[in-house]
């Protein structure tokens, strides 16, 4: 590596990005945080012709949100709980099903390349197209799923019309979209485990389950930790699927933090409250990211570069 007296070169190389990011990210971000202390809405936000006239209201937005948490009716609490359910259930199935498929694909079988390619399709399709395809299949009257149920003589399911089923349906779509990334990443991890370890284990008479428990899973841990942490962050941030499949409904029941922040901002035009949601999201993400970086560093020390 270069010596420290070349540091000025690094600053020259970083300067353009630094300027652009300051203007487009850091200043807007600071502004976004400051809006969370105001009562900004569509009437006082200002535009090309009118100067803004919103007022500083201190911590009122925060007390409005957090103050309701223990009250019987609290949209904020519902959204928090739904975000947790959404993130946990999705990542759980991404990981377990992704690992299962990766283990199958790691065997020496015919047609492995074709299986792998077909299993990647949900990831390769743009998420808004995937969302559309599922929404069409969820259609009450002409959707594929209810037609199949009808042919089997079973009652129709209100896929998007009921708060339980709507959450179920949205999660199902996102599980479908998220498995391939996990599968491919874990497969990469599996393939980097030396075959000689398994040979030695087999000579010692280890069963399939013992090999999985004592060789595969421990050696897969660094890759799995990285992929899972990334998966949590992406799922937490996943706007498109909820917005396009359920629109957050019926009655907030599938709203998560990012979609609700968007609704408050650009449907209800409560920009102050929306920014407060933004700050909550940012805080959670900073914790996730710090954790992610620790995972990356721990893995780098173990010599695994994923």
């Amino acid at each position: 590596m270069s010596t420290r007296n070349n540091a000025w070169i690094a600053y020259v190389f970083l300067a353009p990005v630094f300027i652009v990011m300051t203007l487009l990210v850091f200043i807007p971000l600071a502004q976004g945080i400051s809006y969370s202390f105001t009562n900004m809405n569509q009437y006082n936000m200002g535009n090309q012709f009118l100067p803004p006239s919103y007022e500083w209201i201190g911590l009122k937005n925060y007390s409005d949100l957090f103050g309701t948490i223990f009250q019987p009716k609290s949209v904020f609490r519902d959204v928090l709980v739904q975000t947790a359910i959404w993130t946990f259930v999705n990542v759980f199935f991404h990981f377990t099903l992704g690992l299962f498929l990766a283990l199958l694909l790691n065997r020496k079988i015919k047609g492995r390349g074709i299986y792998r390619m077909l299993l990647m399709v949900p990831w390769a399709v743009p998420s808004f197209v995937g969302a559309f395809a599922w929404q069409w299949m969820y259609n009450d009257k002409y959707g594929l799923f209810n037609l199949v149920l009808k042919n089997l003589g079973l009652p129709a399911v209100p896929w998007l019309g009921d708060s339980f089923w709507a959450m179920f349906s949205a999660i199902l779509v996102n599980v479908w979209i998220g498995i391939p990334f996990m599968m491919v990443t874990l497969l990469g991890g599996l393939q980097s485990i030396p075959e000689s370890l398994y040979e030695a284990a087999r000579i010692d008479g280890a069963t399939w389950w013992q090999q999985l428990k004592n060789i595969t899973l421990p050696l897969l841990k660094p890759v799995a930790a990285t992929a899972t942490t990334l998966g949590i962050i992406w799922t937490f941030n996943m706007f498109n699927i909820i917005y396009l499949i359920t629109g957050g409904g019926p009655v907030h029941s599938t709203e998560i933090l990012v979609t609700y922040a968007y609704r408050e901002a650009f449907r209800n035009w409560n920009l102050g409250i929306a920014s407060t949601y933004g700050v909550v999201i940012l805080s959670v993400l900073i914790v996730f990211t710090l954790f992610y970086r620790r995972v990356l560093k721990a893995n780098a020390n173990e010599g695994v570069y994923y």
């Binding site: 990005v17 399709v125 037609l147 498109n240 996730f288």
Partner: protein, 275 residues
């Protein structure tokens, strides 16, 4: 371990079917006449095969679909270009030089990359509105670069990390300047990395939805993802037309993605992207 792989194939075939059937179903829908789409029989192969839906999508409102297509291509292309131009030198600096504040820079890039559009979009919307740049390519490209620049930096840094430093040392000994070494030695060696990063950046912009619906509200300025939603509003969901449009949007991306996937994955996990 010599055992029958029959059950493995069975599970994989079922899984592959589950992975592709939604796409096959819209493919089938896109070739059906309207009456067959809205009927209660399940037809995987259309009884009457028709290209009418595609024709309608491409020609309605004076071919507005092609305008959306053009918008999408131009915006994704310029976003990628801006991202690459700004981030190559920065990624190189983070990969190669020790300097004060380096870990701070790295962390802020990482955090910026994790931002959901939902957070930055409020201040960005207000700024872009104030500048009168709603419904303009320039405005949306500015907004997209908040996503593409950090992404490109992380991705390119991990590629630069794999290039042996000895090559640059040799070039420096032979009298090349810092910039000369970067342009003549490092950039040519990282062409594959640049290509993958460009491709991914393009796809991310192509698929972006949240920022686009916020900043583009004139029909002629829509990108394809918002355009697709138009079929819901205007015709009370014309699924047969929407399916044809969806196939037209997906096909180029899908082919390229499946072709290029093996080169993408290493970069993906090293850099991390938004979903």
């Amino acid at each position: 371990m010599r055992q029958s792989n029959g059950w493995v194939h069975l599970i994989l075939i079922i899984s592959c079917f589950l992975a592709v059937f939604p796409v096959l179903w819209i493919l089938a829908t896109s070739f059906k006449p309207e009456a067959e789409v809205f009927s209660s029989s399940i037809q995987w192969i259309p009884e009457t095969f028709t290209l009418e839906n595609y024709k309608t999508v491409l020609t309605r409102s004076n071919g507005i679909f092609l305008t959306w297509f053009k918008n999408s291509v131009l915006i994704a292309l310029f976003t990628t270009l801006v991202g690459l131009v700004l981030s190559t030198t920065a990624a190189y600096a983070i990969s190669r030089y020790k300097f004060r504040g380096r870990s701070g820079v790295e962390l802020s890039v990482l955090i910026t990359q994790m931002f959901p559009g939902a957070l930055l979009i409020i201040p960005l919307y207000l700024i872009i509105n104030k500048l009168g740049l709603l419904n303009s390519y320039f405005g949306i490209i500015l907004a997209y670069s908040t996503v593409s620049v950090p992404f490109c930096i992380m991705n390119l840094k991990s590629f630069f990390d794999t290039i042996p430093y000895e090559l640059e040392e040799a070039a420096r000994v032979d009298g090349l300047s810092h910039l000369g070494t970067f342009v003549r030695i490092v950039l040519p060696l990282s062409l594959p990395g640049l290509a993958v990063t460009a491709f991914y950046s393009f796809i991310t912009a192509w698929n972006e939805f949240l920022i686009a619906i916020t900043l583009m509200n004139e029909e002629t300025m829509y990108t394809l993802p918002i355009g697709l939603q138009q079929f819901v509003n205007q015709f009370n969901t014309d699924y047969h037309l929407m399916a044809a449009a969806a196939i037209l949007i997906t096909l180029p991306v899908l082919c390229f993605f499946l072709f290029a996937q093996r080169y993408l994955i290493s970069g993906m996990t090293a850099g991390g992207t938004k979903g």
